[in-house]
Amino acid sequence: MAQPSSLRRPAATLSCAFGVGLMLLGGCASAPVPKEQLAVAEAAVKQASSTATGEGAPLELRVATDKLAGARAAVASGDMVRARQLAEQAELDARVAELHAQTTRSRKAAEESQNAARALSEELDRKAVR
C-alpha cells in the first residue's frame, strides 16, 4: 500500500518541487518495491538472530533488526529509495553482528585451549622432575 505521503502533506510549491527534485536526483522517481533486497535482508537478519549472536553482539544485532523494520516502514510510506538503502544496510549489519559474536566465541575458545595446553605442559614437567 504505497502512497507517497509527501503529496498528501499540505506544502508550499517550492518545497514540493524540491522534494521531487531531490527524489529525481536520488535516481529512483517511480521505484518499484525492492522485494529482492528486502528478502535478502530478512534472511540475513533471521540467520543472525540466533541465541548465540544475541548473546555475543546484542547491540549490533539490534542495529540490524531496527534497520530492517525501517526498510519495511519506508516501503509502507512509499520511499523506495530509502527502503532499498535500509535493506542493504540491514544485510551487512546482520553479518557484522554474526561475526562479532563469532569472534568473541573464537577468542574465548582459543584462550581456553591455550590454558589447557599450558596446564598439560606443566603437568608433564612435574612428572619429569619426579
Binding site: 531531490l22 536526483l25 544496510q89 553479518r95 557484522v96 562479532h100 575458545a109 585451549s113 589447557a116
Partner: protein, 303 residues
C-alpha cells in the same frame, strides 16, 4: 550587491549547490570509511586471512568514491560509505575469528603432542621397569645358582670331612686310641720297651710308624708325649726313666718326619698310676708312655 537580497540569495545558492551538487564536496562518512579501510588493509593478519572480504570492501569504497565524484546525493554517498565501512568491519572480524580458530587448532595439536609425549614417557618408564624387573629376575636366578653351587661345595666339603673323619677314626682305631677327659690317648705299653730301659722294641717301632703316619697326615693334631713308670725304685730314678722313655718316643716321631712343633713332652715318673702298684699286672700297666691329642680338633673321637 543589495544587502537586503544577500541572505535569501546566499540561502538559495546554498540550496542550489546542495541540490545540484555539481562540484564534489568533502563527505565525512566517506573520509572515515576510506581511512578505516586503509588501516585494516595495513593489518597483515587481515590481508592474509580475509583477502576476499577485503577485496569486497575495497570495491564498495570505490563505488562510494565514484558516487561522490559523480555528484550523487549526500544520502546516497553516505549510504554507500556506510556499506563500505561495514564491509571493512566484516573483513577485520573475519580475520580475527579465523586467527582465533587457528590458535585453537594449534593449541589442540600441541595438547595432542604433549599427550603423546606423556604416553611415550609412561611407556618408556614401564619398559624401564620391565627391564629392571627382568634384570632383577636374572640376578636372582644367578644368586640362586651361586647359592646352589655353594651348597654343593659345602656338601662336598662336608662329605670329604666326614670321609676324613672316618679315615681318622679308622686310623685312631688302629692306634687303639682311647677317649678320655684329657682328650684322645694312645697308650704305648711297657712291652714296647725293654725292661727298665728306654730303647724301643721292634713292636714299638711299628707303633711309632703308625703314630708318625697319623700325625703327618693330620698336621693340625698336636700331641703331648707323657712318660710314666710304676712305683718300683726310687722316685728320682723313675722320674728320670719316664723322661728318657718319653724322649725316646718323641725322637722316634721326629725322626719319622713329624714336625717338632706338633709335639710336646712331659715326664711324670711314678705319679698318676692307672692301676694298683701292688700287683704285677697293675705295675705293668703303670709302666707306659701316653701320647695325648687334646680334644680341640673337630670330629676327633674314638669309636
Amino acid at each position: 550587491m543589495n544587502a537586503r537580497l544577500l541572505p535569501p540569495l546566499s540561502l538559495l545558492t546554498l540550496l542550489v549547490l546542495g541540490a545540484c551538487a555539481s562540484v564534489p564536496e568533502r563527505n565525512v562518512a566517506l573520509d572515515q570509511a576510506r581511512s578505516r579501510l586503509a588501516a585494516v588493509k595495513a593489518q597483515p593478519q587481515t590481508a592474509a586471512l580475509a583477502a576476499d572480504e577485503l577485496t569486497q570492501a575495497t570495491e564498495a569504497l570505490r563505488v562510494a568514491e565514484a558516487a561522490r565524484a559523480a555528484g550523487d546525493s549526500l544520502s546516497r554517498v553516505d549510504h554507500l560509505a556506510y556499506l563500505a565501512k561495514q564491509r571493512t568491519v566484516i573483513a577485520e572480524e573475519t580475520a580475527n575469528s579465523r586467527a582465533a580458530q587457528a590458535v585453537t587448532a594449534s593449541a589442540a595439536t600441541e595438547r595432542d603432542r604433549l599427550r603423546l609425549a606423556m604416553r611415550t614417557r609412561e611407556a618408556d618408564a614401564a619398559q624401564g621397569k620391565l627391564a629392571a624387573s627382568e634384570q632383577a629376575n636374572i640376578d636372582k636366578t644367578a644368586a640362586l645358582a651361586q647359592a646352589d653351587a655353594t651348597a654343593m661345595a659345602d656338601r662336598d666339603r662336608l662329605a670329604r670331612r666326614e670321609a676324613q673323619v672316618d679315615d681318622l677314626q679308622g686310623q685312631l682305631r688302629e692306634l687303639n686310641a682311647r677317649q678320655t677327659d684329657r682328650g684322645l690317648v694312645v697308650t704305648l705299653g711297657d712291652l714296647l720297651f725293654s725292661s727298665g730301659q728306654a730303647n724301643l722294641q721292634p713292636e714299638g717301632q711299628r707303633s711309632m710308624v703308625k703314630l708318625a703316619d697319623f700325625m703327618k697326615r693330620n698336621p693340625q693334631q698336636r700331641a703331648a708325649v707323657e712318660g710314666y713308670t710304676d712305683s718300683v725304685g726310687s722316685t728320682a730314678f723313675n722320674q728320670e726313666l719316664s723322661d728318657r722313655r718319653a724322649h725316646a718316643v718323641l725322637d722316634s716321631l721326629v725322626q719319622s718326619g713329624v714336625p717338632a712343633a706338633q709335639l710336646s713332652m712331659q715326664a711324670f715318673g711314678e705319679s698318676r698310676p692307672v692301676a694298683s702298684n701292688t700287683t704285677a699286672s697293675g705295675r705293668q700297666m703303670n709302666r707306659r708312655v701316653e701320647v695325648v691329642f687334646a680334644s680341640q680338633a673337630a670330629g676327633l673321637t674314638a669309636k
